[in-house]
């Protein structure tokens, strides 16, 4: 029987993946628009542009990871749905929300990546600095994932 606990946990997984996917998509889209502009002028810069455009995708991976952890931890993925108390379901939901919200950083990362692409187009030697600047936004997504994992471990979801 599907309890409210399970519903909360599934909701957590949905938020983790859904919000992360939207954010990463927007981030990649922002960086991609700028990337297309640079490549239209100088196709030889495709390599560094691709690296910068890929950066906002990582939040999507964190969201996917968070969703999988919740689904495995609650047994939804294994096919043996455990009797999950509502409190535990809420903890899984909280973890999913943390990952989902922290993945919004992908949008800011996309904007930074777009600016860095402009800088690379002007001065190719700034590529390294551009990557470092864009990665700064990533830190908070990693913290979010870390906090979610701590919640899952602390509440014995995993």
């Amino acid at each position: 029987m599907i309890t409210m606990g399970i519903v909360f946990a599934i909701l957590g997984a949905a938020i983790s993946m859904g919000v992360a996917a939207i954010s990463s998509g927007l981030g990649v889209g922002i960086a991609g628009s700028a990337g297309a502009g640079v490549i239209a002028e100088d196709p030889r810069k495709f390599g560094p542009i691709l690296v910068l455009q890929a950066l906002p995708q990582t939040q999507g991976i964190y969201g996917f990871l968070g969703a999988i952890l919740i689904l495995i931890g609650t047994g939804v993925l294994g096919g043996t749905i455990a009797e999950i108390p509502d409190e535990l379901g809420l903890a899984a939901l909280a973890g999913g929300i943390v990952i989902g919200l922290s993945s919004v950083t992908a949008i800011a990362q996309g904007t930074i990546a777009a600016s860095s692409m402009g800088a690379v187009a002007k001065r190719p030697e700034t590529f390294g600095q551009g990557v470092v600047l864009a990665v700064m936004a990533e830190t908070f997504a990693i913290f979010g994932l870390l906090v979610a994992i701590l919640i899952f471990v602390g509440t014995k979801i995993m």
Partner: protein, 352 residues
């Protein structure tokens, strides 16, 4: 618990909706310009480097200078004539950017290119006045290329005035010109119409991203007015004789108008304290016109770096291109005149 569950679900939905609105708002001013700004950056990356400029300056002959230029973006345009090539390049560049510019700022782009109409008309007027045939107009501006060619073929100043009437009504200024034979009445009137009308249109716009244009045009007005004040002081002209040439909308005129007749040339700067023009004038009192031009270019760059998304990078880019083309012309003419590299360096402004 079921009721609590619904409540939590609703809370999440509302929170996500609010977050989406916030994100949408912050992206609205960035996203439309991403492609344009990236292309502008890439184009800036292909501008003539200081090393290439130095190579042109130190090249032993005009031919050698041109061969250095052939290795740049200008190469394919300058095969037959440098002058025509530079004009063709500049025209194509503007047309290309007009194609990719977001629809909502296409109008703002015309504010920026109107200055080339003014430049072309003033050049035509000066040539007719001096009895020379005008050079080919720069194919950029709000006035169509064909129309500008027609204006350039005018036989006298009155014909020019009647041909541009739809864009610049110079009827009153022409009457004054007829009586005095002083071309300044017409040139001043064109500048005034262009800058005052453009600033008025910018101030009317509610688009936040165009506010940067307001700062740029206000500075243009200030620098133009300041040049008028300084030239008048050098020529010993009173304020009542220059007032009609002053352009409204700047930030410095009021105080200067009030005290102008009592001031010596060197004292004009003292009226500009607390403005960015104070040190500019104090440090460059001998060559203030060149310093003002450089200030405008630097301002364009500053605007483009402080507002990385929007129309600001366009302002910076065109300032840079304009200066680049001016440098090429200066070096070419200096080479033709046989000037030494150290003399040529003084004519060139290296945009950082």
């Amino acid at each position: 618990m079921f009721g609590d569950g619904i409540l939590i679900f609703l809370l999440i939905v509302v929170s996500i909706a609010l977050l989406s609105i916030l994100i949408r708002r912050s992206l609205r001013e960035i996203v439309p310009y991403l492609y344009l700004n990236a292309r502008i950056s890439a184009k800036e990356g292909r501008c003539i480097k200081p090393v290439e400029l130095e190579e042109m300056i130190t090249s032993p002959s005009v031919e050698d200078m041109l061969s250095v230029l052939e290795g740049t973006e200008y190469g394919k345009y300058i095969q037959n004539s440098l002058e025509r090539g530079l004009n063709a390049y500049f025209g194509e560049l503007h047309a290309e950017i007009f194609e990719i510019i977001p629809k909502k700022v296409k109008k703002a782009f015309t504010f920026l290119i109107r200055k080339w109409d003014v430049y072309n008309i003033k050049t035509i007027l000066r040539c007719i006045y001096a009895g020379e045939s005008p050079p080919e107009p720069i194919p950029v501006g709000e006035i169509e290329e064909e129309k500008m060619r027609e204006i350039a073929e005018s036989s006298d100043i009155e014909e020019v005035v009647s041909l541009i009437k739809d864009h610049y009504d110079l009827t009153q200024a022409f009457e004054k010109y007829k009586n005095s034979k002083n071309l300044l009445f017409l040139e001043g009137a064109i500048d005034r119409i262009f800058m005052e009308e453009t600033l008025k249109k910018i101030l009317q716009t509610k688009k936040k991203e165009l506010w940067v244009l307001r700062d740029y045009f206000t500075t243009l007005i200030d620098l133009t007015n300041l040049k008028i004040f300084l030239r008048a002081k050098i020529d010993g002209v009173k304020i009542k004789d220059i007032e009609e040439f002053l352009i409204e909308g700047g930030t410095i005129s009021e105080r200067l108008i009030k005290n102008f007749d009592d001031l010596e040339f060197e004292e004009i700067a003292s009226q500009l304290e607390e403005t960015p023009y104070y040190h500019l004038l104090i440090d460059n009192i001998e060559e203030y016109e060149k310093a003002f031009d450089e200030f405008r270019i630097r301002m364009g760059k500053e605007i483009s770096t402080t507002h990385p998304f929007g129309i600001a990078p366009l302002i910076g880019f065109f300032c840079k291109k304009e200066e680049e083309i001016r440098n090429i012309r200066a070096i070419y003419r200096a080479k033709e005149a046989g000037l030494l590299p150290e003399e040529i360096r003084k004519l060139v402004f290296v945009y950082g």
